[in-house]
């Protein structure tokens, strides 16, 4: 099973849903902050790769958040 790709996308979508009260820019910042604070770097790498491979599969906020990751 290679469920990890799915896992990272599921996780960012879950996080984003819970940040829905924020404007997009703040949501992207908060999402990036959450990822940096709680995710192992290899998960971030997998997310980056997935988003880079197909930006259309995720929301623009996720794309923006990934771009902000250090």
């Amino acid at each position: 099973m290679s469920g990890s790709e799915f896992t990272e996308l599921r996780l960012v979508n879950d996080i984003l849903a819970n940040l829905s009260y924020l404007p997009d820019d703040e949501a992207a910042s908060a999402l990036a902050g959450h990822i940096e604070r709680f995710w192992d770097p290899r998960m971030t790498v997998r997310l980056r790769e997935r988003v880079a491979a197909d930006e259309s599969s995720v929301s623009t906020v996720v794309v923006d958040a990934v771009a902000r990751l250090g």
Binding site: M1, S2, G3, S4, T7, L11, D14, I15, A17, N18, S20, Y21, H34, E36, R37, F38, W39, D40, P41, R42, M43
Partner: protein, 941 residues
């Protein structure tokens, strides 16, 4: 160490200044107003003879042994029921009262077996003691008259016997059952000579409502209620004070021994968490520690299909170290990690996370709190600034409104539940939010004013609706919010939205809007409002949101920072709080400081002499994903049975099978050890030496009652592994580990074994400002300065009931069993719960043709198992419930990978399922539940 006996002052202490002066037998003493003459005398050093009185129970005045004379008063009043008065002069040893006492005692003994020498309580019997104290030398009435010598004995309880022939009808057992435990299972049946103690309506103890807490046994002054272990082994001769290793209440006990054998566990009267009370698990279910299933030798095997091979410790430690180094060399520094256990001591957890960070070289350490209370840590940190509950347990005695959300205290945290029920009987008002009608909703002398019977998965919608009422009806504590909080205006705008109104969310929650409004008004205006919650809050996809939602509600109502209020997690295991405190989350060092915090990291780097990673490591679910991906290859599992306790067994087992090295340290060869290459024997709580931290942040000492049966302490084994990996770790004693914890952790700065031995227990933060600890947090300001309101949108779980899976399964625990049952299944507690059953509403059962006791299949989208059905109107229609105490049930074959958005805590509480009558030869029933794993694997294939 000798047998520690606690002084019994006869009647309970009275709070208040010692303003009343009394003279007792020429000794002067000052006591608070309302103190009994008996207690004042005891405080002066004069113990008045007594039988029906004990200081854990209100005075009763029935035995007439404690009679005294008081200057200026007529007669011989009972000292237990007579309050002191200023200037009172009391005489406890006059010829008149001596004669009366001797006569009273003579009557008692005339109807009591004269078998002291063969009685199991010989030497530990208050009747025997008092006969000596009053100088009884003869019984004039003989033994030939009517007596109770032939009264039928009751041996039905697995832990204690009831011999009514020895009963003196003092009612201590009856009162203990009511006043302390709050079950009211016992009564005095009949009148006069026919009076007798009776469980229920003339039932046996096992058939009655008795919950076997043992309060009656402890209160009994004779051998009428007697532990079977004392009958079998004899009266204990020495004791060691230690801490229970079951739930997060953290009760203090005296382990009483005869020789090296534990005879009984007696709750400590001065125990900060339990004040002398206990439950059936803590008092009686300690036999697992000496169960023959204990694995006491290290074991190795090349492949998980090989048989185990017992080895010596050196070989095992070398194999673990070599295996971890090999994997790290081959797959990189992030390929290895460990899981700490909330069953282990702070010192054990600390050395495991130190081993990971310093010897493994990464932050791949997580704790089993991941799957229970990680949302508590996140949510309370975000809002209050500290990942811990706000109150001490005693605080509930000052609560006016108690709100219990997603917790079942009478089963999960029974000793705290008894404390809570005492307050409820005094008049505090109760709100329960739970899909099930838990016992607290209605039990003797207690009734919830509101039972908000919400649909599983709608907690956030409910708490938002309550906050909506508070804000829109002008019930906010404006002064508190203005002075103590930030972010209120933004949050108030959010929560005022009509979509959060009780009327709008009623279709989601299923709770009538009027009930929500009434409950919110009660919480906001009823005086001190206290929230207590459990895994029914955290184990959801919105667990962290719900914790923040409760924090918002409490702040809005000003219910933070003083006695009787607060937001209080009821932690599942004995050291959940401690394992989190000790830095076993992959993103946090001890004291909840983030690994990216350079200044915090430097403290450790300087002390440990190494460089630490500044980025978080893998959480438990991420470890499984990475194992399947191939980047995580070796795991040290310390005292946790992840194969049984973690969700989606197929996923977990596949991940474990994918690893090159799995090391399990535990008391027993558990389910996870089936996937292990190395097994290291652990130490039971009776063998451990260290500290546990309970749900109220109370650090308690755990003392070795006996040496480790495996020959080594667990902290020492971890140090040996780290050292063998090339990072030397050495301590001579666990006190040195605590000293190191104190040196690197500001909230533990003032903690040491020496201080704990002196003061008993300490609630962190403990530092120069609070050298004896902090029972109530956020009193003047929040840990983060201002309390932060956080908007909490309700995001429904993606786990929905469908036509294929129309019911929602929710899980929990019961009183007699504990978690995955590794301990309690190896005790006589199985008498109460021999198997997990499926509770289902009669209507849901009827439409499926299911009768009570029928075997049913339970199917989710990830697995199937079989259980026996129990028809129960506790359940709402559409929701079914089971426990996970027996591995044979395979509950986590059904649960999914859904998790809390912020912490990845699994969503155990919501799984869409279908239930069907099991047909012989079909599905899970065909193979029998014992083979569910095989069946599940076949289904997966």
């Amino acid at each position: 160490m000798s047998l520690h006996t606690e002084h019994d002052f006869g009647t309970p202490a009275v709070d208040g200044p010692a303003t009343v002066g009394v003279e007792v037998d020429g000794l002067r003493v000052q006591v608070p107003e309302g103190t009994s003459v008996m207690r004042a005398a005891a405080l002066a050093g004069v113990d008045v003879p007594k039988l029906c009185a004990t200081d854990s129970l209100d005075a009763f005045g029935s035995c007439r042994l404690c009679l005294v004379e008081i200057d200026g008063r007529r007669g011989t009043p009972a000292s237990c029921t007579t309050p002191v008065a200023d200037g009172m002069v009391v005489h406890t040893q006059t010829p008149k009262v001596a004669k009366l006492r001797e006569s009273v005692m003579e009557l008692y003994i005339s109807d009591h077996p004269l078998d002291c020498l063969t009685c199991p309580a010989n030497g530990d019997c208050e009747l025997q003691d008092m006969a000596g104290v009053v100088g009884l030398r003869q019984v004039r009435y003989g033994q030939d008259g009517a007596n109770h010598g032939d009264a039928e004995k009751d041996h039905s309880n697995p832990y204690f016997d009831f011999d009514p022939s020895k009963c003196i009808a003092c009612s201590r057992c009856v009162r203990a059952c009511g006043e302390i435990q709050g079950t009211f299972a016992l009564t005095i049946e009949g009148r006069g000579f026919e009076s007798k103690v009776s469980p229920g309506a003339g039932e046996s103890f096992m058939d009655s409502e008795c919950v076997s807490c043992g309060a009656c046994v402890q209160a009994c002054p004779t051998s009428t209620l007697q532990e079977k272990s004392v009958v079998e082994l004899g009266v204990p001769t020495r004791s060691v004070t230690t801490t229970c290793a079951y739930c997060g209440v953290g009760c203090s006990f005296k382990a009483e021994l005869r020789g090296d054998e534990v005879v009984r566990m007696v709750p400590l009267k001065d125990g900060g968490a339990n004040d002398g009370h206990s439950c059936v698990k803590g008092r009686f279910a300690f036999g697992y520690a000496s169960h023959p299933d204990r694995a006491l030798k290290p074991m190795l095997r090349e492949k998980i299909t090989d048989p185990w091979r017992e080895v010596e410790w050196d070989e095992a430690v070398d194999a673990v170290a070599r295996g971890l180094l090999d994997v790290r060399q081959k797959y990189g520094v992030g390929s290895i990690g460990a899981i700490t256990s909330s069953r282990c001591t702070n010192e054990e957890v600390y050395v495991v996370q130190k081993m990971v960070r310093a010897a493994f070289g990464n932050n791949n350490v997580d704790t089993c709190a991941r799957v229970c209370h990680s949302p508590t840590g996140y949510g309370l940190k975000q809002t209050f600034g500290e990942s811990a509950g706000t109150q001490d347990f005693k605080s509930v005695a000052s609560a006016d409104v108690i709100m219990v959300i997603g917790a079942n205290p009478t089963d999960g945290h029974p000793v705290f539940a008894s404390r809570m029920k005492q307050r409820l009987r005094q008049g505090a008002r109760l709100i329960v939010a739970d899909p099930r009608r838990i016992d607290l909703v209605r039990s003797p002398h207690i009734a919830a004013e509101h039972h908000l019977q919400l649909q599983p998965g709608t907690n956030v919608a409910l708490v938002n609706a309550m906050s909506h009422v508070v804000v829109t009806e002008g019930l906010v504590d404006q002064d508190f919010v203005a002075a103590r909080c930030e972010g209120f205006d933004e949050w108030a705008r959010f929560i005022s939205g009509e979509e959060h109104s009780p009327e709008a969310v009623e279709p989601l929650t299923g709770v009538p809007a009027a009930d929500v409004r009434a409950a919110a008004r009660l919480y906001a205006t009823g005086g001190n409002g206290a929230i207590y919650y459990g895994l029914g809050v955290t184990e959801h996809s919105q667990g962290s949101t719900m914790v923040m939602g409760m924090a918002n509600l409490a702040m809005a109502c000003g219910n933070i920072g003083r006695d009787g209020v607060g937001v209080n997690p009821l932690r599942g295991q004995n050291n959940v709080q401690g394992s989190c405190d000790m830095g076993s989350f992959p993103h946090e060092l001890t004291g909840y400081r983030h690994v990216s915090d350079d200044s915090a990291r430097k403290i450790f780097e300087d002390l440990w002499g190494t460089t630490l990673q500044a980025e978080p490591g893998l959480r438990i679910p991420n470890m499984f994903d990475s194992a399947l991906e191939g980047t995580f290859r070796a795991l040290f599992v310390h005292g946790e049975d992840i194969a049984q306790s973690d969700p989606n067994f197929h996923h977990v087992s596949a991940a474990l099978e994918a690893m090159d090295l799995v090391v399990v340290q535990d008391l027993f060869l558990n389910e996870t050890s089936k996937f292990a290459h190395v097994f290291l024997p652990g130490a039971s709580f009776l063998e451990k030496d260290g500290t546990f931290t309970n749900a109220e942040r109370r650090i308690n000492r755990v003392r070795s009652v006996m040496k480790p049966k495996s020959g080594k302490h667990e902290w020492a084994i971890v140090c040996e592994i780290a050292t063998a990996m090339g990072y030397p770790m050495h301590y001579d004693h666990p006190s040195q580990i605590m000293d190191e914890i104190a040196a690197v952790t500001p909230t533990f700065a003032g903690v040491s074994f020496d201080k704990l031995d002196r003061v008993g227990s300490i609630q962190w933060p403990c530092d120069d400002q609070a050298p004896l600890g902090t029972p109530i947090m956020h009193a003047e300001s929040f840990t983060r300065g201002l309390g932060r309101f956080v908007p909490t949108p309700f995001v429904p779980t993606s786990e929905r009931s469908t036509r294929k899976y129309p019911l929602v399964l929710t899980t929990g625990r019961i009183l007699s069993q504990y978690n995955v049952g590794a301990q309690t299944r190896r005790t006589a507690n199985v008498a109460w719960h021999g198997e997990d059953v499926l509770e289902i509403h009669p209507h849901d059962a009827e439409v499926r043709g299911i009768l009570d006791g029928a075997r049913v299949t339970l199917t989710s989208r990830v697995g199937e198992t079989a259980l026996h059905a129990k028809l129960s109107e506790r359940m709402p229609t559409g929701v079914v419930y089971t426990t996970f105490h027996h591995p044979i049930s395979g509950t986590n074959v059904l649960t999914t990978e859904n998790s809390d958005w912020a912490t990845n805590c699994p969503e155990y509480k919501v799984t869409a399922v279908q239930v069907a009558l099991a047909r012989p030869g079909v599905g899970a029933d065909a193979v029998g539940a014992a083979d569910w794993r095989t069946a599940a694997a076949e289904l997966a294939d």
